[in-house]
């Protein structure tokens, strides 16, 4: 591969432990979203953070609309990083769409993964009546794409040329990159489509790695019905309903998030005992 994977995905490795915890961000964000959670695990694990190609500070030269038009392309990023760092026994922590990305990666290379920790996951965001409630209609996603277009228009189409003309002022670039985690509206749109139009319900039975489903209260993006569905169809899964409301507990309620992950991992380390609460 001509492009170094670690640079391509802006991979960061730190922590004192040996077992890797690989944190995967969701749509609309980058690895920064984990910064309130990772300090709690630094002493015991090797922390691996990254940005998907097209997000954060990844290398946009590696972007391919074809590869990243489907979640399998994102799963390949995860597997590329695992291979590059020779990771084994990985605790995969994925937010939102990255829950499914982690499942897909674990189906392809189960030997690499120990546990999947799925924060606000959903295998399908679109309602499929009469039996499945995903939370959204296709028209809602079209509305989201429009909102994104209008919110990105300023940054990508207006600011980008300013930034390019001001190479001597790196703070402009930094500001731009921090404003939205992906600065290219076409890439963001593709990620949104891959995320919200995917239906991975059929992949659930193929997941062989034990998993924790962290279900928020009052999550409008991954409602309780979705968590229930996952628990029923994902082999070896455990669901914990959080006090945290919303969709991003790692940012709104980092303490509870850390607590639940710790409890889950501790219970696995003591497999004889019952799951601790």
């Amino acid at each position: 591969m001509s492009l170094d994977i670690l640079t391509r995905n802006n991979v960061k490795v730190f922590g004192k432990g040996t077992q890797p915890m690989l944190f995967a961000h969701g749509f609309g964000c980058d690895q920064n979203m984990w910064r309130f959670v990772t300090p709690a695990f630094e002493d015991d694990y090797k922390i691996v953070l990254f940005d998907y190609v097209g997000s954060g500070k990844s290398d946009l030269r590696a972007y391919s609309a074809e590869r990243y038009g489907a979640l399998e392309g994102y799963a390949q990023d995860v597997l590329d990083i695992c291979a590059e760092l020779e990771l084994k026994d990985v605790i995969f922590v994925g937010h939102s769409v990255s829950g499914v990305v982690g499942m897909l990666a674990s189906i392809r290379e189960p030997e690499r993964f120990a546990q999947l920790i799925l924060v606000s996951p959903s295998p399908c965001y679109i309602n499929d009546p009469p039996d499945y409630v995903g939370g959204f209609e296709r028209a809602d996603i079209a509305g989201l794409l429009h909102l994104m277009e209008k919110n990105y228009i300023g940054w990508a189409n207006f600011l980008a040329p300013v930034v390019m003309k001001n190479a001597e002022r790196p703070e402009l670039t930094r500001e731009l990159k921090e404003s939205f985690c992906s600065t290219d509206p076409k890439i963001a749109r593709r990620f949104a489509e891959a995320t919200f139009f995917s239906d991975n319900r059929g992949d659930l039975p193929n997941v062989k790695i034990p998993s924790l489903i962290m279900q928020c209260s009052e999550d409008a993006i991954a409602p309780q019905e979705v968590g229930d569905y996952l628990e029923r169809h994902l082999p070896g899964s455990t669901m914990r309903v959080m006090r945290a409301t919303g969709h991003c507990p790692q940012m709104s309620h980092p303490e509870e998030t850390v607590q639940l992950i710790r409890e889950y991992l501790a219970a696995i380390d003591r497999p004889a005992g019952p799951t601790a609460l």
Partner: protein, 516 residues
């Protein structure tokens, strides 16, 4: 919350990281149609439609949480009654009274939003148009190069003197054919450009379709004969006149007939039928040719569409002919459709025009003569017989090749030709040689043909006599014709000049002048 904030002319809401509303001002409550008690303690998602909820969770909140503030975020709010209002949001995350809160200011932007949407729409349309234009240019340059290759190749061989007499004749034949094909290509392009800019105008008058069909058949018969194709014509005398542009309808018939002949094998048959159907006149052109596949049938009239890209085309290959035909008919209030039982089973084109109601669009005789002279004369008098003996013609053209060509054409017909390359020299000649007629190029450096004719007309003003003048230009658009006529020319002929057309036009102008 103090009074000032409560009634400020913008919405204000403060919520915890949990999304729970802790404060909301009266302005926002009024906008949303809720009572304070209905929203306090509720999640902000209570007044966000689905798309905004996703954007809030995936972009707005993460950004606010990670950077402590967001600016100029576009969101939509949903009122209690279910109405959506677009807003622009600025927010900051801070500690107040021992808790972390997110303070947001919201400004409704209904009109600005509509304006923005229109800009976005225009931007997308412009991007698509640019793409289409690029593709079009690629096709055009390819198609224009094809005949040029043949023209240049054979012209060089002729020049080198490498060809015997038979081959030379063949070379000239090929050059002529390819130049004609390129001319047709350019005419199609100009028509097409008029169509997309909405500038294709009809010169409407009473038209007898019988004569249009007969004229088209006359033109196409040699091509049909050469390939052993039988041309059958069935004309219903009750068909009646239609209201239309005879030149454009002629063009439609040529298009349909030449297509039918082109795609019909040796020994086949092409039939033209004219019939009255209720208040319409129907022309059917059917052939026994290669037909149209069911898959291609819906696209026959779309521009740049050709069923078989490898087909050797008689008139170049932009695939514009049928699109132009359809557009011309629609301008006439008519329709056209194509039918074919399938490949190898022939095709039928059926066009319908409304019958003219008892109303006759009259036009000034002089105008009609000026524009129709060529076509009318063409039928009445074969071009070869037209002589210009003794006619003094002043030719003005800055390009020496074009000038030489004009001199040759006119001298061969007996005219006495003086040729100059500038407007100034032309004015000088006018005084010295007193020509009967001027043929002038329009685009010339320093002083153009418009300026020249204005000076000529101004000069004549005192003499009471007007010398007939013909404008030649490379631009065949109707606006060019108008400009030429209004500047003072009697007639406008587009380049490249067809020798017979020029000769007839001159003869016509001279005769009109002589016969009172």
């Amino acid at each position: 919350m103090d009074d000032l904030l409560n009634t400020a002319p913008c919405g204000f809401v403060s919520f915890t990281d949990d999304g729970k509303v802790v404060e909301i001002n009266a302005t926002l409550l009024e906008l949303l149609g809720y009572e304070r008690s209905e929203l306090e303690g509720k999640h902000v998602e209570a007044f966000l439609p689905a798309a905004s909820r996703i954007f809030y969770q995936t972009h707005f909140f993460p950004l606010l949480r990670l950077h402590g503030k967001v600016e100029e975020i576009y969101l939509s709010l949903r009122s209690k009654a279910g109405e959506d209002t677009p807003v622009l949001v600025n927010a900051v995350r801070r500690e107040r009274g021992g808790t972390i809160v997110n303070d947001c200011v919201l400004i409704p932007m209904r009109q600005r939003n509509q304006y923005e949407d229109e800009i976005l729409h225009a931007k997308r349309a412009a991007e698509e148009a640019t793409l289409a234009k690029d593709e079009f240019l690629a096709v055009v340059s390819h198609e224009l190069r094809t005949p040029l290759t043949a023209i240049l190749g054979w012209a060089r061989m002729l020049k080198a003197g490498e060809l015997d007499e038979t081959s030379s004749l063949r070379a000239m034949d090929i050059i002529e054919r390819n130049a004609e094909s390129q001319t047709q290509l350019i005419e199609d392009l100009l028509d097409f450009s008029r169509i997309i800019s909405g500038k294709l105008r009809l010169d409407v008058r009473r038209v007898e379709l019988v004569s249009i069909i007969e004229a088209a058949i006359d033109v196409m018969r040699p091509a049909a004969d050469a390939r052993g194709i039988r041309l059958q014509v069935v004309l219903d005398p009750r068909a009646g006149p239609v209201s239309g542009d005879p030149e454009r309808l002629q063009q439609v018939l040529w298009n349909l007939l030449s297509n039918a002949i082109k795609f019909t094998p040796k020994g086949g048959r092409v039939q033209v039928r004219l019939a009255r159907i209720n208040s319409s006149v129907e022309i059917t052109v059917s052939d026994t040719g290669q037909g149209i596949s069911a898959e291609f049938l819906p696209y026959v009239f779309e521009r740049f569409r050709q069923a078989d890209h490898t087909t050797t085309r008689r008139f170049g290959g932009l695939g514009l002919g049928m699109a132009i035909t359809k557009h011309i008919l629609e301008l006439h209030g008519g329709t056209i459709r194509a039918e074919s039982p399938g490949e190898g089973q022939g095709a039928t084109f059926i066009l319908r025009l409304p019958v003219m109601i008892a109303h006759r669009a009259e036009r000034s005789e002089a105008e009609a003569v000026a524009q129709r002279a060529v076509a009318v004369e063409d039928r009445e008098r074969p071009a070869e017989l037209v002589k210009l003996d003794g006619v003094r013609v002043l030719v003005v053209d800055d390009e020496s090749d074009a000038r030489d060509l004009l001199v040759t054409i006119l001298t061969q017909r007996g005219a006495e030709v003086a040729a100059v390359s500038t407007a100034a020299a032309a004015l000088e000649q006018l005084r010295l040689a007193k020509p009967h007629l001027i043929v002038s190029d329009v685009e010339m450096p320093n002083e153009d043909g418009y300026s020249l004719i204005r000076k000529v007309r101004a000069f004549e003003g005192g003499l009471g006599e007007r010398i007939p003048a013909i404008a030649l230009t490379a631009h065949a658009r109707s606006s060019d014709r108008l400009r030429a006529l209004s500047a003072g020319y009697q007639m406008h002929i587009p380049k490249p000049v067809e020798p017979a057309e020029l000769v007839i036009a001159i003869s016509n102008l001279i005769n009109r002048r002589q016969s009172p």
